[in-house]
């Protein structure tokens, strides 16, 4: 594949996608998928001790990147934009400061960045990367739940069918799987800490499910 400076007209056309800054001014507050659950209130009023902790990492920028992992130019472009290379090993993830990248599929990665930087990063990708790829902003379509605590593995074992034993699911591993009757992208971020990327429309169901599945351990909501 080509260097950006010597792209053929066809290759330039290949990058032609409609990119737009989707965020309004700061005076309009976004409402995350769990906005209506008023987690801040629960964090203040609810129990402070329990085996499972939950926090919504809301209004982040979610970008779905699709490309050929054998394209060295594109891999280099990713590194220029995010300061870290794509995780090419299946089921792995990488982080660089506020940026994190999850392997989703042999040609698919989920990049999560601070919400306000989303358009900037999208634009950088369009500037830096040539050839055939797709980059889709899906920030409104999903949210991130951080779940942690002494019983977090048991709660997750009730919810997902994958093996969560440390030997099979080390820190950094990421899987897309079934979560109860919905789905989630599950990543281990610590011995007793996981991150779930869930779809907006299922967020309420998953929130109810986690409350129910955590009942025997006690659920602490964090703001």
């Amino acid at each position: 594949m080509s260097d950006l400076n010597v792209m053929t007209p066809e290759e330039v056309a290949a990058t032609k996608a409609a990119v737009m800054n989707q965020l309004p001014g700061a005076e309009i507050q976004g409402q995350s998928p769990l906005h209506h659950a008023e987690l801040e209130v629960l964090a203040q009023k609810g129990p402070k001790q329990g085996g499972v902790h939950l926090k919504e990492l809301k209004l982040l920028g979610h970008l779905m990147l699709r490309m050929n992992p054998e394209n060295a130019d594109q891999l280099a472009a990713v590194e220029r934009v995010l300061g870290v290379g794509l995780p090419l090993q299946p089921l792995t993830s990488v982080e660089n400061g506020n940026y994190s990248i999850r392997w989703m599929s042999p040609d698919e990665w989920l990049i999560i960045v601070p919400g306000a930087e989303t358009f900037d990063i999208e634009s950088k990708f369009r500037d830096e990367m040539g050839g055939h790829y797709s980059l889709v902003n899906s920030s409104g379509g999903s949210t991130v739940l951080k779940v942690s605590g002494d019983n977090v593995v048991e709660m997750l074992k009730k919810s997902v069918p994958v093996d969560l034993h440390d030997s099979e699911f080390p820190v950094g591993k990421v899987v897309s799987t079934v979560f109860a009757k919905s789905g989630a992208v599950v990543r281990r971020t610590g011995e007793k800490e996981f991150e779930l990327v869930i779809r907006r429309s299922f967020a309420d169901y998953i929130w109810l499910w986690i409350q129910d599945a955590s009942r025997e351990f006690g659920l602490v909501v964090e703001a």
């Binding site: 409609a18 040609d107 994958v162 299922f202 599945a213």
Partner: protein
């Protein structure tokens, strides 16, 4: 009442902890460590139920999962009722409330018992089938009476207050059974560092060792059990599950375990605790160490309370300190059975006789009995029992060496307990679950697990290895084998020394002969729970049933909740004898999941109530709820159906919503439409292949409607796709079809056209979509955007990127109502903000929210189809009158093109979608109604097609409908009739489905 059968000492019960329980309303005492069964026996309760068919009094016969009779109804309150609990497996707790399951009006005076006695001879196998199945229409009448009389337990009428749970587990080695073999396997695997799960249905680990007096290393065997359990508890990766029945063994080493977490504590789980948990285990290797069940012998009146399985009698004495009677007669075909007489004798009660069916027995236990001076009668059998609600005596007679005939005169003995042992049946149930057929073994006189494709090992009793030393050795071996298969180094385990008891050969005998023929002798029960007798099986065979599977179904043998754990082998042996063939030739029926009954709670887990099925919400859901929307389920989505105002009927609300939209402006939450982002230089070509129409010339900024077909040419989805950039498109799908369409696109890209440069991503949830529709929609939108909305600048089927209410948006000028419409898309986190701003500005235009029902009416007035309502997988675009959406000139043979050219697809007289205008404008044809051309034709009338969409149109003042009619497109103006179930007939004229604004001027202004 006193515990008259309780011993002063011995057993694993705690006599300092007295527990009160009730049975059929009466209060009794038991001890901590009792099962409900052992406590009932301690209290001298003989009759615990009535039999299913003949309503005979029945007592406890076994001590474990195989118990067929003591199946109880538990529960102190209506909400906590649990049917079909085996008293032998229910631990006693203070306040336990139990009742017998069968018997009406009660177990002691039972009306059906009379029927059973009189009707005994008149109730052969198949009785219920033969008597009640015809006429079939009356079965429901019979069923209620029979079920009430026979009694199968009852489910609670109130919601279960307890929490049930399901949890997924993964392990290296799953060990089923924690007897000597299972514990040895667990110890071996755990020491090697394997991830181990060991489950046992009993409250304590130890299996058979808990109820025997055996020594290991010269000490009571339970000391060894304690040492191993303690060691296992120290491993991080070993999970020990007592009170946990492995109920199912499925493909690829997937097992389900039913754990009863609090059933032993109270009627209802303590606050914050889960009552039962279903573990779903995926194991690399499985070790079945499930042991064996003792077989009772089949003889006349062998169901009279006081007749028990020999080993169970020993268990009650040794484990629970209960001797279930005073005067014992033991009948056995083997040495092991003698242990029961020795245990009875040790308990200080009278052994009336040991009746050995063998002529010359001579093992160590036989000698021990003789040494004690017990009365051993050889070459004989108990051919009949006397008594009704309790054994009062037995008839003993000599039998032939092959056990088929009585050879001498009868001696009567007085006794209240008859223990029988016909040998052991390995518990092969789980190995059968995966489809493995058991194999008969003459040496152990039983079925062994057959060949399997599972990564399965077996150890101990399941292999017919009944002595402890052999069981331990096999457990160790299985553990090492599993460990080495997984790739771990072998561990060092020293087994304890077990006593070896020299045993004589057992006799292969199942059915004890009587002086009379089987059919004339008093009933000889094979399957207690379903009242199947030896005579019944013989009759079935004589009636021509040769396959054991057919015999089983005809007689109902093994059909009960106990699945014939005690009786099946005896039944097969009896059938084999009648059919004059061997047991292996006769074969066996296969055991299926579940091993023992399981509560619905444990199966459902937490998938109940509001978690039964996910409810998907849009970003504006909260607003809809606050504004009184009635919701409709569309897939898993909750979509507003209509928004009734106070006092409005549904039709009132629809009329108001539809009129407001046509006259001013309405708003619909369309966020649930599937949305797929498509990028790549071949995106356009790909669209051309999956849609029926042309996409080559769609310019950036334009939108187009498309039909999607299968290879068979039949429509399966539709929607509008917009060109966002030269190589960038946004496809919309039906709400229910989003996932299917995305998978469809991926299927073709991945398997057929991988060379095409295109990627698909779902953005359904990312965009909140709201459609404002109606003549005032432009005015309303203009108040919230700087975008030039003039028709010449922003025409029909254009889209623009702009800002609405301060939020960046993509606005699509597309219409599903036929009105001037704008579909506003903003990132979902801002959807509610924009929605609310539209209402702030919309009040002066009477902005009216409408739901899916008004959407249906509005689009039907325009003749727009809904894929899935007006299509059913059997109609192609031409059937829909939508040939305009098919481009036959595209160079690539798009999906569906060849299919819709098949002979059947181009024939005359296919059913075609047309409009239907009722002669009576007020008549609304029911959807689904079948049309006929001649309403006077004799029944069955030739049907010509059904109505797919039909509504009252307030805007038009008459009903509107669409439906299929044979050759309909060529029958414009002709009449079609819809005869309804109530005898009335609705007459309609075939017309264009476009009832309103046929030129499409309203959407183009």
């Amino acid at each position: 009442m006193t515990q008259k059968n309780r011993l002063q000492s011995g057993g694993r019960i705690d006599r300092s902890k007295s527990l009160t329980f009730t049975y059929n309303g009466k209060s009794y005492q038991g001890f901590q460590g009792d099962t409900l069964a052992s406590a009932m026996l301690a209290n001298g309760i003989d009759v615990i139920g009535r039999s299913f068919k003949y309503s005979r009094p029945r007592g406890i016969v076994a001590a474990g999962a195989e118990e067929p009779n003591a199946v109880m109804q538990l529960g102190a309150t209506e909400a906590t009722q649990v049917p079909n609990v085996r008293a032998t497996q229910q631990e006693l707790f203070n306040g336990l409330v139990s009742a017998s399951t069968n018997g009406w009006p009660n177990v002691d005076t039972d009306l059906m018992g009379v029927v059973g006695k009189i009707g005994g001879k008149m109730m052969p196998p198949g009785f219920y089938y033969k008597t009640f199945m015809f006429p079939q229409s009356l079965w429901h009448t019979y069923e209620g009476v029979i079920r009430k009389a026979a009694g199968l337990g009852r489910s609670p009428l109130e919601n279960d207050p307890d929490e049930y749970d399901t949890i997924n587990q993964h392990c290296d080695v799953m060990i089923v059974g924690a007897g000597p073999a299972g514990l040895a396997a667990a110890q071996t695997a755990a020491r090697a560092g394997a991830r181990v799960i060991i489950a046992d249905e009993q409250a304590e680990f130890g299996g058979s060792l808990l109820s025997s007096k055996e020594l290991l290393d010269g000490k009571p065997a339970t000391e060894w059990v304690n040492t191993v359990v303690e060691e296992l508890a120290g491993y991080k990766d070993v999970m020990m599950l007592p009170r946990s029945t492995v109920n199912g063994y499925h493909d690829h080493n997937f097992l389900t375990i039913h754990q009863r977490c609090t059933d032993h504590i109270a009627d209802k789980a303590p606050a914050g605790q889960v009552r039962q948990r279903m573990h779903r285990v995926r194991a690399k290797w499985v070790v079945l160490a499930t042991g064996a069940h003792e077989r009772p012998l089949v003889f006349s009146n062998n169901d009279v309370p006081g007749c028990m399985v020999a080993g169970a009698v020993s268990t009650y004495i040794n484990r629970y300190g209960v001797v279930p009677g005073n005067d014992l007669v033991l009948m056995t075909t083997n040495d092991y059975g003698y242990q029961t007489a020795l245990d009875w004798d040790d308990a200080g009660r009278k052994v009336v006789a040991i009746v050995d069916t063998r002529a010359n027995p001579g093992g160590a236990r036989v000698e021990a009995a003789r040494k004690r001076g017990l009365n051993v009668i050889t070459g004989s059998a108990v051919i009949e029992v006397q008594g009704s609600k309790r054994v009062s005596g037995v008839s003993v007679a000599p039998i032939s060496a092959d056990g088929k005939q009585v050879t001498g005169s009868v001696t009567k003995l007085s006794a209240d307990t008859v223990a029988s042992s016909g040998g052991w049946s390995p518990v092969i149930h789980l190995s059968c679950h995966t489809g493995s057929r058991p194999v008969w073994n003459d040496e152990i006189v039983g079925f062994l697990p057959g060949p399997t494709v599972q990564k399965q090992l077996t150890a101990g009793g399941i292999n017919g290895k009944y002595d402890t030393a052999a069981a331990l050795a096999e457990g160790l071996e299985a553990g090492q084998k599993a460990v080495s298969e997984i790739g771990l180094a072998a561990s060092e385990v020293a087994l304890p020394a077990a006593e070896s008891v020299e045993e004589g050969a057992p006799m292969s005998l199942f059915h004890i002969p009587h002086l009379k023929s089987t059919s004339a002798a008093p009933k000889q029960f094979v399957d207690y729970q379903n009242d199947v007798t030896a005579a019944g099986i013989e009759l079935a065979c004589r009636e021509g049933y040769e396959s054991i599977e057919h015999v089983k179904r005809y007689t109902a043998m093994g059909f009960g909740t106990d699945q014939g754990k005690l009786g099946n082998i005896n039944g097969m042996a009896i059938a084999a004898n009648v059919l004059n063939q061997t047991i292996p030739d006769t074969g066996t029926t296969i055991f299926r999941p579940n091993y023992t009954p399981i509560t619905f709670g444990a199966i459902a887990g937490r998938n109940c109530g509001e978690l039964f099925d996910p409810e998907r919400y849009t970003a504006m859901h909260k607003w809809h709820v606050e504004h009184g929307a009635k919701f409709e389920d569309v897939g898993q989505w909750k979509r507003p159906w209509y928004f009734p105002k106070a006092g409005e009927s549904m039709q009132d609300a629809l009329n108001r919503e539809c009129k407001a939209t046509r006259e001013s402006v309405g708003i619909l939450d369309a966020s649930t439409l599937g949305k797929i982002d498509i990028q790549g230089k071949d995106a356009r070509e790909f669209l051309g292949r999956v849609y029926t129409n042309a996409w080559a010339k769609l310019a950036v900024g334009k939108c187009r409607y498309g039909l999607m077909c299968g290879e068979d040419g039949m429509v399966f989805d539709d929607g509008v796709t917009s060109c966002l950039g030269e190589n960038h498109f946004l496809m919309t799908t039906t709400s229910g079809g989003a996932a299917r369409v995305l998978e469809w696109l991926e299927l073709y890209h991945q398997t057929e056209w991988p060379e095409m440069e295109v990627y698909f991503n779902t953005v359904t949830d990312h965009w909140a979509t709201m459609t404002i529709s109606g003549p005032n929609s432009r005015k309303l939108l203009a108040e919230l955007t700087d975008c030039d909305l003039a028709n010449e600048n922003f025409g029909f089927m254009d889209w623009k990127q702009t800002t609405v209410a301060g939020v960046p948006a993509r606005v699509f000028r597309i219409s599903f109502t036929g009105e001037l419409s704008y579909e506003i898309n903003v990132q979902a986190n801002y959807g509610l903000h924009v929605w609310e701003k539209l209402f702030e500005h919309g009040e002066k235009y009477n902005l009216t929210p409408y739901g899916t029902e008004s959407m249906h009416v509005l689009r039907a007035e325009k003749g727009f189809i809904i894929a899935g309502q007006d299509t059913d997988g059997s109609v192609h675009p031409y059937d829909l009158g939508m040939g305009w959406a098919v481009s036959q000139n595209k160079p690539f043979s798009f999906i569906g093109k060849r299919g819709m050219a098949r002979e059947d697809c181009v024939r005359e007289n296919r059913k075609q979608l047309v409009g239907l205008k009722t002669t009576d404008p007020k008549a609304v044809i029911p959807e689904g109604a079948q049309g006929v051309f001649d309403p006077k034709a004799p029944i069955p009338m030739p049907m010509v097609g059904h109505v797919t969409s039909s509504y009252w149109s307030e805007n038009l003042g008459h009903s509107v409908a669409m439906g299929f009619v044979k050759g309909g497109l060529d029958r414009m103006g002709e009449k079609v009739y819809y005869p309804l179930a109530d005898g009335t007939v609705i007459e309609a004229e075939i017309c264009s489905p476009i009832f309103l604004d046929p030129k499409g001027e309203r959407q183009n202004v």
